[in-house]
């Protein structure tokens, strides 16, 4: 009952010992093995399915001989609607699509953590200062995550982006197959953006991340307000740059898979995914550390506030999702509905609803109660719901455009995700063990230690 004011910060270091290291490495290796087996399964299955499909098509063609015009009309309609994106899909498409979605998804955690750091600096917020080192450790994944993402994009760009193959043809107006929609977007969708804009964006992010980290470490050693003030300036610059650059990145990497589609909401939608998932990952790491006996200073009040943040951004995601869906559904314009049409049929239909339930409705109800946000077990469940839900979310962004009807969830998907999780855990925990768990000379550290959210 009685409240004791904390006046001193204990020094604490996380030891990334053998067992945790083992778990991360085992996850990575197991994931790789599973993904390998899964890929082979996909290859075999794909070849079987291909021959079967040809056979049925022949049979149907013979059967429907009397209505060839109708059949032709349907095919043309489909072509115009833009569902031809996956026509060139082969079994490798599914492998590449998995790599793309997972490298993008895990990169989002790191980027979201960097945004969290910057926002706390700019807003002069003190409550989360004890969690600062966790966020910093998470941002260390940006470098590795980006190298993988960029390699995947460069190696398999014609698998993902049909505009790449389209622009290679260099068609003029009036030519057969000339595509006005794609031509109108050529100012962004071109190889300069792909090879230079994407690396430029992420290198600037990583540079600012390095600067913030350096300031934070030096502040630990030397103290003083100078590093804090400097970090605020860099953070403000980062947020300004982030608003534009993150939009551009999400358009280039994910939205241009469905290059014919128009949505001004998409980058905001991706931002919502980024922030809520990185908050959940932060919560997971915090719960893990507290379970291991570290971070005793982080009171229930701080955990409660982080839980509130998770809850708030679940609602934000739901709002942005509805904002995108409601307008497209109401207006019913073909160039916009094509995206949801592809996601409301076949294997994607159940996943579409699973996504809404796991990312919004269930966490909304689970995290609403006050006691839920103070109970580690409930927070763990809610965090897992959000993370798996948004995995499905990113799956739905990538798969329909790249793999089409041939997608399913098998060993390949599970294995790739596990491998990325192992890699992420290894890099983040390794970076966490490099510095003190508390930024002990941060001016707001005591505010965070004595934080109180009231009744």
């Amino acid at each position: 009952m009685g409240h004791h004011t904390i006046t001193e910060i204990t020094e604490e270091k996380y030891h990334f010992n053998g067992r945790s290291k083992m778990i991360a490495i085992v996850l990575l290796v197991l994931g790789l093995v599973l993904a390998g087996i899964g890929a082979m399964q996909v290859q075999n299955h794909w070849n079987d399915a291909q021959t079967e499909e040809v056979a049925t098509e022949h049979a149907e063609g013979a059967h429907h001989n009397e209505t060839p015009a109708e059949h032709h009309g349907e095919a043309a309609g489909e072509h115009e609607a833009g569902t031809h994106d996956e026509h060139g899909a082969n079994w490798m498409s599914r492998v590449w699509a998995n790599l793309l979605m997972n490298s993008y998804y895990f990169l989002l955690f790191a980027v979201g953590a960097l945004f969290f750091l910057a926002v706390n600096y700019v807003a002069n917020a003190g409550w989360a200062t004890l969690l600062k080192r966790i966020a910093e450790a998470m941002t260390s994944y940006i470098a590795v995550g980006f190298v993988i993402l960029f390699a995947v994009i460069v190696l398999a760009k014609d698998q993902f982006y049909h505009w790449v193959t389209y622009f290679d043809q260099g068609l003029a107006p009036g030519d057969a197959g000339y595509d006005g929609i794609l031509e109108s977007k050529s100012w962004l969708l071109n190889s300069t953006s792909l090879y230079f804009l994407i690396p430029f964006i992420v290198i600037v992010w990583y540079g600012i991340r390095m600067k913030l980290r350096q300031n934070s470490i030096k502040e630990d050693q030397e103290g003083g307000l100078g590093y804090f003030r400097n970090s605020i300036r860099w953070s403000a610059g980062f947020i300004f740059f982030f608003a534009f650059s993150f939009s551009a990145l999400s358009w280039l990497v994910i939205m241009s898979i469905d290059a014919h589609w128009y949505s001004t909401m998409f980058s905001v939608y991706n931002f919502a995914v980024t922030f809520v998932t990185s908050l959940s990952v932060m919560m997971m790491i915090l719960l893990y550390l507290k379970n291991k006996g570290y971070m005793e200073m982080v009171s229930d009040e701080v955990v409660h506030d982080l839980g509130k943040f998770m809850f708030a951004f679940c609602v934000f995601w739901g709002y942005i999702f509805l904002g995108q869906w409601l307008l497209i559904w109401y207006a019913n314009l073909p160039e916009e509905t094509v995206y949801f049409a592809a996601r409301l049929e076949g294997i994607y239909r159940p996943m579409f609803f699973v996504n809404i339930f796991m990312c919004f409705l269930l966490p909304f109800l689970v995290l609403m109660m006050r006691n839920a946000k103070r109970n580690p077990l409930v927070l763990l469940v809610a965090g897992l719901l959000i993370l798996v839900g948004h995995w499905v979310d990113v799956y739905l962004m990538v798969m329909p455009g790249v793999v089409g009807d041939h997608a399913s969830i098998g060993l390949l998907e599970i294995g790739t995700t596990l491998a990325f999780a192992g890699l992420f855990i290894y890099i983040v925990l390794n970076s966490l063990s490099k510095a003190n768990l508390y930024a002990k000379n941060h001016p707001y550290i005591l505010e965070s230690a004595n934080h109180d959210v009231g009744p």
């Binding site: 409240h3 869906w325 409601l326 559904w329 109401y330 609403m368 009744p455």
Partner: protein, 189 residues
């Protein structure tokens, strides 16, 4: 519904007047150590930890908020469903006239959830804290609405220590003045 415990009525009070929230907190803490029953504290701004130190239980207002919100959601759905599907089916934008137009109900459901919760909370809060219209609200000391903090202790037989002891504890914790309720104010504004 109205909480009788927070009504001032004709009760007799010992009042400690403070100008520092730290001193107030300490006074509350030492009084609670002697298990003195504190009637209420009046502060011009929220003081952290004060409610915990006074031993106030958590409010149930959030439950009322949830119930009001759920009521609003169901009202919104029933309203939209009754009007657009049952009573006067209308085709808007070529959309079907059954429950699959659920998407277009969501804004109504959301708005009514917010409206019901907001109104419900305002009414519940004012009722619970006896600030509802028609109640005369006694103010123990006018300065509690300005810059001073008030610690009110009811004078009755249930207190474990005598009134004088209570007064001396408040005095030791640095109160500006100690008064009985109804005593004339000696303030020059």
């Amino acid at each position: 519904m109205i909480d009788k415990k927070v009504q001032i009525g004709d009760k007799k009070f010992t009042l400690g007047v403070f100008n520092d929230e730290g001193k107030l907190l300490n006074a509350v803490r030492s009084l609670r150590k002697k298990e003195v029953n504190i009637f209420d504290c009046y502060t011009p701004f929220p003081v952290h930890h004060l409610d915990k130190e006074m031993g106030i239980k958590r409010t149930n207002l959030t439950v009322i908020a949830f119930i009001c919100g759920a009521l609003g959601t169901t009202t919104g759905f029933s309203l939209a469903y009754y009007m657009n599907v049952l009573d006067w089916p209308m085709i808007i934008g070529g959309k079907p006239m059954d429950v699959t137009v659920f998407t277009s109900f969501i804004p109504i459901m959301f708005e009514l959830t917010v409206l019901f919760t907001a109104f419900g909370m305002v009414i519940a809060f004012f009722t619970r804290s006896s600030m509802i219209h028609g109640f005369k609200q006694d103010i123990l000391d006018l300065r509690q609405t300005d810059d001073l903090m008030l610690l009110a202790i009811e004078v009755n037989e249930d207190q474990p220590i005598s009134d004088d002891e209570i007064k001396s504890i408040i005095n030791n914790e640095g109160a500006l003045e100690i008064r009985e309720r109804g005593q004339a104010l000696e303030v020059t504004y």
